[in-house]
């Protein structure tokens, strides 16, 4: 008996230790732990949607990363004395409200990334779930990898340095952490080259996974209104466009060549008589009828059909409401009473839409997408994002992440870099014509390189009002002066410093 006892105990302990791991893997019904969450496709789908919900939160693309903080940095908006964001366009990073905004934007972006990484981690781990559904498997993987690149790229565009093209010395400098693991341990910073390489690797893989994306071949999958449309997701075309954006930021000759290829594929490459005269295979240009509806709020003023990737912002009306009163940020009828307001001044509109030219009167972006309000009707309401209750959901509740027109501008820039002025001008003319600028005013291919470059800048000013892209365009090319700002633009203006909490808790961090 004595001899048996230890043996029995040993066997017991062995059984216990070997079988317990699974037996102990339990949790309460109301706490859905990850292992359980990602045990079926529904769980994965819910988590994927969760990432988009997060992106459509006000601290990210429904507000700060687009029409508010980032757009304020580009000096697009009128300055209203006493406004809460007055210090933002002054680049006073350490003065309220910027320190807290830096924290929330940074945290929000990385929280979305962490959610992406969690999905990718469990997709790797729970292969069984996708055994019979390789399509969903591929689609989720593609979307998540592309979003990881997209989100990191925007963090880098905001918190990193620009104008890499002309500053090759920067490539070995440290930039933002590129986080690929779902872990509590802070990811070390890497150089711009290494970070861009990771970004490109992710987006290239994403494009491969997304080759199964139904919207590539079936335009109904790219519907503007269907709630299950791929347009509301990081789709194949959007991934391509993200790739092009990243390559442009990298700015080398080779990367521009590659960027051009991406842009042209997106545009549709139907180059008969110039660039893309017809509709693309999957997108179509906004027709005059959509723009000229009975009311401004029933018209398609943000050209939704041209969004390559657009975020559905369910509560856009609520998000647009100011903190103190219930008026919308886009309601500029009496801005002196309301500091929480964004609009274009009369002067700004006159400059960017080139008053005195034929374009000023014909361009929908000047006449339809903006309408006058306030004293002497000199405040220009940004109608494309102004969501009101009367609106249908066909054109509202959307925040474009990428427009097809940006691909035309990228193509133009790349053609120009190669010395192909004809193609460059053709790209720009195509967009201008689609915006109701008559062909008689088409740009001539005989314009100087400098002039064409200016025309591209003008397009960024006109096209992306309240979308945040203008600031990134300035920053990418390292503009030393920008419109409506008297100071010089250097890294200290362009680069939003990392938040303090990251500097304190992130280990070794350099800005």
């Amino acid at each position: 008996m004595k001899a048996k006892l230890p043996i029995i105990l040993l066997i017991f302990s062995l059984i216990i230790t070997s079988s317990c791991e699974n037996w102990l893997n339990v949790s309460s019904k109301t706490d859905i732990v990850s292992e359980e969450m990602f045990s079926d496709i529904t769980g994965f789908n819910d988590a994927v949607v969760g990432v988009y919900v997060k992106m459509a939160k006000p601290e990210l693309y429904a507000q700060e990363m687009t029409w508010r903080t980032v757009e304020f940095l580009s000096h697009q908006y009128a300055e209203v004395a006493g406004a809460p964001d007055l210090n933002v366009p002054k680049f006073l990073w350490e003065t309220a409200p910027l320190p807290s905004k830096r924290e929330t934007m940074w945290l929000g972006m990385y929280n979305a990334i962490a959610n992406v990484n969690q999905i990718l981690k469990y997709q790797e781990q729970n292969r069984d779930v996708f055994k019979s559904d390789s399509f969903t498997d591929s689609l989720i993987k593609g979307e998540m990898l592309a979003l990881r690149a997209f989100l990191h790229f925007d963090v880098m565009r905001l918190f990193g340095k620009g104008n890499l093209e002309n500053r090759p010395e920067l490539r070995s400098a440290m930039t933002i952490p590129y986080v690929t693991d779902f872990t509590r341990i802070a990811t070390p910073q890497r150089s711009y080259t290494a970070t861009l390489a990771l970004m490109k690797q992710d987006i290239q893989q994403a494009i491969q996974y997304l080759e199964c994306d139904p919207c590539r071949t079936n335009s109904s999958e790219f519907s503007t209104t269907s709630m299950s449309s791929r347009r509301f997701r990081m789709n194949y075309w959007a991934a391509k466009a993200v790739y092009a954006r990243i390559l442009m930021w990298e700015g080398t000759t080779e990367s521009k060549e590659l960027a051009l290829a991406q842009a042209l594929e997106i545009i549709g490459n139907s180059r008969s008589g110039g660039i893309g005269t017809g509709n693309g295979a999957y997108y179509s240009w906004t027709p005059s009828s959509s723009v000229n509806q009975t009311y401004w709020y029933t018209s398609d003023l943000s050209f939704t059909q041209e969004h390559l990737f657009t975020l559905w912002v369910e509560k856009f009306i609520d998000i647009q409401k100011g903190p103190t009163d219930s008026r919308s940020w886009f309601d500029c009828a009496s801005p002196s009473n309301q500091y929480s307001v964004v609009y274009l001044t009369d002067a700004r509109r006159n400059i960017i839409y080139e008053e005195g030219t034929g374009m000023f009167d014909s361009d929908w972006r000047a006449n339809k997408c903006l309408w006058a309000a306030g004293a002497s009707l000199r405040n220009w309401t940004i109608a494309k994002f102004y969501n009101v209750a009367d609106m249908g959901t066909n054109f509202s509740k959307r925040m474009p992440m990428i427009r097809v027109t940006e691909m035309y501008y990228i193509a133009a820039e790349c053609f120009l870099a190669k010395g192909d002025r004809t193609s460059a001008v053709a790209c720009l003319n195509k967009v201008r014509n689609q915006r109701n600028i008559p062909t008689s005013l088409n740009l001539s291919a005989s314009l100087s390189v400098e002039d064409i470059r200016n025309e591209i800048t003008k397009e960024y000013l006109k096209e992306f009002v309240a979308e945040g892209q203008l600031f990134f365009y300035y920053k990418r090319l390292g503009f030393s002066t920008i419109l409506d700002y008297s100071g010089a633009m250097t890294d200290s203006e362009y680069q939003m410093p990392m938040p303090d909490s990251e500097m304190i808790n992130g280990g070794i961090r350099v800005n």
């Binding site: 302990s13 109301t30 949607v49 940074w106 990385y110 509590r184």
Partner: protein, 1054 residues
Amino acid sequence: MKNKRISLAKFCFFGFLMMSLTSFNLFAVNKAAPSDNNENDIIKNAEVQQDTTRIIKGKVTNSQTGQPVDAVAIIVIGTKVGTYSGTDGTFEIKVKDGQEVAASIVGMTSQRIRVTSSTKFLDFKLTDTEFKIEDLVVTGIATRKAESYTGSAVTIKGDELKRVGNQNLFQSLKNLDPSVYIMENLQMGSDPNSLPNMNMRGGTSFNEGMGTSDLKGNYENKPNQPLFILDGFEVTAERVFDLDMQTVESLTILKDASAKAIYGSKAANGVVVIETKKLIAQKPRITYTGSLDLTMPDLSSYNLCSPLEKLDVELKENTYSDTNPSSITNYYKLRKQVLEGLDTYWLSKPVQMGYGQKHSLNIELGKDELRTSANVSYYDNVGVMKGSDRTTLNGSFNLVYRLKDKVKFQNSLNITNNNASDSPYGSFGTYTLLNSYVNPYDEDGNLVTTLSKGGRNPLLDATIGTSLTSKYFEITNNFEAEYTVIEGLRLRARFSVNKKNNSADRYYPSTHSRFASYSNTIAHRKGQYEANNGSSDKLTGDFYVNYSTKIKDVHNIFVNAGFNLAENKYHEVINYVEGIPSTNMNDIMFALQYNADKMRPSGTSGFTREVGVLTVLSYTYMDRFLFDGTFRLNASSVFGSNNRWAPFWSVGVGWNLHKESFFKDLSDIKLFKIRGSVGSTGNQSFLTNKSLTVNNYYMNDRYTDFIGAYAANMENPDLKWEQKMEYDAGIDAELYGFNFRFDVYKTLTQNLVTSLSTAPSTGFTNVSENLGFVENKGVEAYLSYTLFQNRNGFLRLSGSYTNNKNTILEISEAMRTYNDTQKAYVNDRTDIKLKTGTVILYYDGLPMNTIWAVPSYGIDPATGVELLIDNNGEATYTWNAADMVPSGISVPKWRGNFGFNGEYKGIGISVTCTYMGGGQYYNQTLVDKIENILITNNFDRRVLTERWSTPGQEAQYKMTTAFNVGSQWHSALGRSQKPTRATQRFVQDQNELNISSIGVYYDFNRKWLSSLGLERLKFAAFMNDVVKFSTIGIERGTTYPFARTISFSVTATF
């Protein structure tokens, strides 16, 4: 999923296989041996009967008291013949000359008498082994001999517990052992429905704010609460609170690592082991205990203004305008009414004389192999606030089956039904604020709806059908099987099933005062109902092997090894609804909608599993040198997958000096043991799943047509159990009539689970980490002296002392952030209607219970404003959170009790006093009643006399501010004066002496009783919290009044 199931099945299969294999083996051995024996027995018995077998009578008495002793096992050595002594101590047994008869019972010396032909009567005189059960330490897993035990443990007998009170175990425990610190609840006073807060040897867990207070099920343990083991299985504090004290056999407090390590990951806060009565009687026996408690509210600590005084203050503070005729008329009108005799004593309105009745009936049945007992008890405790009540009905049924001293089966079933209701009168505090010149009744003596000074009459709330009830139903079944394989080797398996359902209903009718401020637009929301529904299921099982042997008469070895499994599920949900238009509609179904402020149901749920493996090795050399070693492995679903298995261990050594030759001859030294131990235990009572990522759904957001989920927290698979290293050295001694126990201890709690700030680039701002060190050290001493003890009675004096010093050695970064937010929070509190008191801050090198306050010079005689001292040591009028300094510790540094108990010819008396001191108290009630007051409310009388009023006056209290609004313009300062906030002026030293319990009883003479057919009859009376002497005056019981209880009880055994 599939994998999981397979391995679970595998596990179960193997488990059962092993169990059956072992048992098969054992039974096989067993079967072979006894069958021989049986045959032999039959032959032997046959011989005996033919021969000189005769029936002989005998009696067992207590050698000291001369009283008969019942239920003593009388065995003829070497045979199966045996019996038990009856209630009169007598017995009859069949014996043969030359055989030896032994009488033995737990707690007394055993005695053997050899029967010779001349033996006519067997007269056994047994002696109490002086501290009956104290000689055994019941750890809940094994019962150990105290003499050879190296752990620090205190055993308290059921009788002792009952001697100092009969309300509940905690109440009695407070008076018996100061190492369990049961905090006085200054807010809830004597509320029969609020569970006490307690800790042992100092707190270790940081309070970062946990849980919703609306929960009623008590499924989540408080982080500093000790572990309660009832008959071997973990139970909640609530179960102990509602336990019928009559059924308690003993209570053991395990204090140091050597004693606690057997409970591994749950033992860090100390372990309280409660054993209910084991069956003793051999003949049917019925015991009834009934008691009646009278509970009297104590309102003497309130020192409120009389109506005239209050009117004086109001006049002085210009509440009545001289220029406004109606205003000043109002004053005179009131004054007239008061002079005519209007003086409403609001404090008495919601209170009553509380009473409690308790009935406990115990029936013991059965004989020999099969014995049963049934217990039914009923306790109705009507509190001093009208309508507050707690009723517990408890039934239990125990069954023991013994087979030839080899096999024992025991099953106990316990059912508890509890109904509690809270007073519909609301918070007692409301009534302390009402002016005594306001009459709640109209001329006809009916309650008025609106009081003359405005506001709803709170007395009305109780008349409209407000109902605040909660209840639970709990059923527990414990099964135990024990098998003695050979002498010294015992196998034991236990299994426990526990199910509990709880519910609570809070109904506030539409006319309730809480809706008085609802505007017309939300009038449809009036009438609210909250319904809690919860349940819990616990399955626990363990299997242990005990082996003890003696080698060459000098080496004693005891081994205890085994494993345990447990599963615990709980779930509680609260639904909040509103819009119940009529007061007659007292059901959740009548509600119009969900509560617009709360919207969704809330609640809590948990599902945990755990496994433990335990080995205990105990070795003694010639009973002189003692060694105990414990090793426990615990695994729980709560912990990170990378650290699933947590080892806990302890080593204890002891030296029985009284067994040494140089002490052995001194017969007055009965025990002198020096012991020491070191070991580690853990604490796992924190919110589950901090190690794993929990995913939540975005409930209020949709993306196109879909709903999304997100990771709510970052995982930490490396998260470990909270670990506590414990060092303890002590002495146990019984010499020259003294009983002495002394312990010095130090504990170091590490791996405290707190949140740590992370780089936001991880996606989260914080993650749960093991961080922080807390040290507790202190001394515990206990001394008792028996003045005399003989057959007529005894008198014993006893006293104890304990102190504890708590120090935070290291805190996390997140804790610093917590401190900063706390400081910012108090800095913004400038309105007296908000909480303006102290906040808890945690800093390295300071105790966890530090009181933070700004140093003060006192009241400036020139201006009547408090002069504070800022960080630079300069005087300032401005209160700033950054100027707060550690100003005291809110727990007593030392505590203890002393008293005596004695008995003479059946009359017994017991007096217990508790004392404490060295701590401080921030007298917030004083602040709220004298300085932070609103003129519309009633307040302390000292407002009239002791506050500053004229320049040059040296006053204790500042010129009262904040009369009509949160702050008042102060012309001398040229600014608004803020309400009084945390200042050292109100930090008071707290030293207390409390005569906490007086008990008397009379135990009727048993000889006389037996003529009445009674076995025992005892009357007892208790009073608790008799007098309190304190250096500070506090209004105890702000939400629920404090009360004193007198209790009378009778126990009768048939």
